[in-house]
């Protein structure tokens, strides 16, 4: 239920209680319910107000906290998924270095893994726009820049060429550094989301 619907429901309920009280006050023939003439109208409103504060305020605060937690959890899931994909890329590079061979299928797999992580960051971007538009620009830009740098390091150089058939120790170390830097940026973004 959206916030506007919740407010509408609360207002409707309040109006119904007030209208009920007024009708009861004007129409004295309602059986069992009689207006006590010693009771002042502001006391009735005071009672209703206390009831509303006691019931609705904790209810809405609880819902608001739960909604916020659920939204943050979705955002963090996207970033963790992107991190897992970088782990998969690391596994491919490590395996190729261990076997002293990298073939076109491995390169296609790396391209595809980057495609998947881009989709996750796209999803993160869309959710941030919806839930935290005030804070989204720098956080999303940092994540995208980090992804861009990592992708450029791996697919912007010699790896994608036909002549690159073995993964050297130097290349693996270079990749490890780039991957760790990317993952650090993702972890920083996760902490930022926690603080929203």
């Amino acid at each position: 239920m959206t916030t506007s619907k919740k407010v509408l429901w609360a207002i409707t309920l309040l109006v119904a209680v007030i209208v009920g009280g007024v009708v009861g006050h004007l129409w004295n023939d309602i059986p069992l319910i009689r207006w006590n003439p010693e009771l002042k109208i502001y006391e009735v409103f005071n009672l209703i107000l206390v009831f509303c504060i006691g019931v609705f305020v904790p209810f809405f605060i609880k819902r608001w906290i739960e909604d916020s937690r659920s939204v943050k959890s979705c955002l963090i899931d996207e970033l963790r998924s992107a991190m897992r994909i970088s782990d998969e890329i690391r596994v491919v590079i490590d395996r190729c270095q261990a076997s002293s061979s990298i073939v076109q299928t491995d390169k296609d797999q790396i391209s595809y893994l980057f495609h998947r992580s881009e989709q996750m960051i796209d999803s993160f971007d869309a959710q941030m726009k919806e839930s935290f538009p005030h804070a989204m620009s720098t956080t999303v830009r940092d994540v995208k820049d980090a992804h861009h740098a990592y992708q450029n390091m791996l697919t912007g150089g010699e790896l994608m060429t036909g002549g690159f058939t073995t993964v050297s120790g130097d290349f693996r170390r270079g990749h490890e550094t780039a991957c760790a830097s990317y993952q650090t940026k993702l972890k920083v973004a996760i902490q930022k989301v926690h603080r929203f």
Partner: protein, 110 residues
């Protein structure tokens, strides 16, 4: 400006894209630029229409391919003209669109 021509990279060229230069192997950025993109782009400029490039369906877009095709086109023709006559489509990956547009706006000399 009306779009009169479309290149679907995955169907018209390949869904497994290579590196920057022809010498780097098959389906390079240079091959795509010279055999597909540049001729269609020049037809669009002469005809005063837009060329739509559909990016969907490929396994992924290596940075060297993007730089060797769209970046090189932008270096040769200028970002303003390229942005005027090229349109991009990707329903499956918005970040891919951003990367290509960024490369065109700021092509890097390699």
């Amino acid at each position: 400006m009306e779009t009169k021509e479309t290149i679907t990279i995955a169907k018209d060229f390949s869904n497994r894209l290579g590196a920057r230069y022809r010498k780097d192997g098959p389906y390079s950025g240079q091959q795509f630029l010279e055999d597909f993109l540049l001729p269609a782009f020049e037809r669009a400029v002469v005809g005063g229409h837009c060329l739509l490039v559909d990016l969907d369906g490929a396994w992924g877009y290596p940075s060297s391919f993007v730089s060797g095709s769209f970046g090189k086109l932008s270096l040769e023709k200028g970002p303003a003209l390229v942005e005027k006559h090229l349109r991009f489509k990707s329903d499956e990956n918005n970040m891919r669109l951003e990367r290509v547009r960024k490369e065109i706006a700021n092509p890097k000399v390699k």
